[in-house]
Amino acid sequence: MPASRWLRPGAARSLFQVWPLLIGLGLLALVRLSKGAFLLDAYAQLSRPFWPGTAQGEWLRSARRMEDQVRLAQLETENQRLRGLLQLQTLNPTRLSAPVISRVPGGWWQQLLLGKGSLEGVKVGQAVLAPGGLIGLVSAVTPTTATVTLLTDPTSRVGVWVARNRHHALLSGLGTSRPVVRFLEKDPQVQPGDVVLTSPASTLVPPNLPVGVLQSIDERADPAPEAVVQLIAPVDAVDWVQVLVPR
């Protein structure tokens, strides 16, 4: 009888001898069914000391920045070409690097003093950029220095628009570190986090320079809504700036 053969004492004994093997096979089957979860997790834990460190991460960020710069240059070239085709006014200023030799970000006059002046082609009204975007306009020049009135100064007024929905506004300094944008429409449909750029309608500054990010919005302000702006460029930390000098 076949059944009696399976139930022989010798066969049961051999089954007990191979149970570790069977358990091992079961575990491997689980690993297979879980798409190698245990195996990969174990590998991750074991290889953690050899994971890519900050140096590799910095290389990747550097490569990303390079890619962004190339794309930016390409887009600027394309933008110039299209503006030329549309016969729009082309503003293609050169960027003159200038050191910051005096910095007064607070008080009655919030200004920077740059180490380059009219001898280098700097003139009153030119836009001044720091890493991150616009920080102010040249308000006075001497042969070797230029005074920059910061966007935070209450005498500063610059036309801006919101990049997302292109609603125009006026950026006004309040004497604090955060200026305010005052919209021209009753319902500008903006929200915190929107990026503010210089307006193409402005005659003072070149269009579409980054300025800041909307932080909070007061929709009940009179006569139109206004919003507090966090400037992108860190005025307290910049040692070199760029003056946009027309060619």
Binding site: S102, R103, V104, P105, G106, G107, W108, W109, Q111, L113, S139, A140, T147, T149, P154, T155, S156, R157, L170, S172, L174, G175, T176, S177, R182, L184, P223, A224, D236
Partner: protein
């Protein structure tokens, strides 16, 4: 004999004031606001050298400070009055030497200077806005310190500079007072 007539080159020491204003060391700032250096130099000068010299130094100092910024308001009126008042104090009463008195006078001077600037801004704002009642958009575009700015950021600037004057005056004014008195004594003997 006064310092300004016997040793006119000493007036040049006031050049330190605009240089310090320009350098604006970060460790002397409170919330980004630098100290008002002009009263700290003018106080000992006027106390030692009298009201005429105080007025002259105040006007010179005001001209120097006004040249540093493109704004339409001026520090000259306040510095002129402070030079005259401190000059009278120095000649009429007993000598003022104690740190507390110097700090108090420097704080009053800083308060006067800042209030004069605030009044000038408020005056300009009031006259500027009065002509623009019918066009709200144009009112927004009018540059300068307005009432709300002066009430918020302006008061913060004022308080910061008062505090800095109270901290710096006992050291700076005492040392300058000592220096000017010695030089005056030396020039009187000579």
């Amino acid at each position: 004999m006064t310092l300004s007539t016997r040793q006119p080159w000493l007036l040049l020491s006031m050049l330190v004031v605009p240089l310090l204003t320009l350098a604006s060391p970060a460790w002397f700032r409170i919330a980004g606001v630098p100290p008002s250096w002009a009263p700290l130099w003018l106080l000992p000068w006027a106390l030692v050298d009298g009201q005429r010299s105080g007025i002259l130094a105040g006007v010179c100092l005001g001209l120097l400070l006004d040249s540093l910024h493109p704004g339409p308001v001026s520090a000259i009126p306040a510095l002129l009055l402070l030079g005259w008042w401190w000059g009278r104090l120095g000649y009429q009463g007993p000598p003022i030497e104690r740190s507390f008195n110097l700090a108090l006078l420097a704080m009053i001077g800083t308060l006067g200077l800042d209030l004069s600037l605030m009044l000038q801004w408020a005056w300009r704002s009031w006259f500027g806005l009065r002509g623009l009642q019918e066009t709200p958009a144009a009112r927004l575009a009018l540059p300068g310190w307005h009432g709300s700015d002066l009430a918020m950021a302006g008061v913060q600037v004022l308080l910061s500079q008062l505090l800095l004057a109270a901290v710096l005056a006992p050291v700076v004014c005492s040392l300058l007072l000592l220096l000017f008195r010695r030089l005056q004594t030396a020039s009187g003997r000579g």
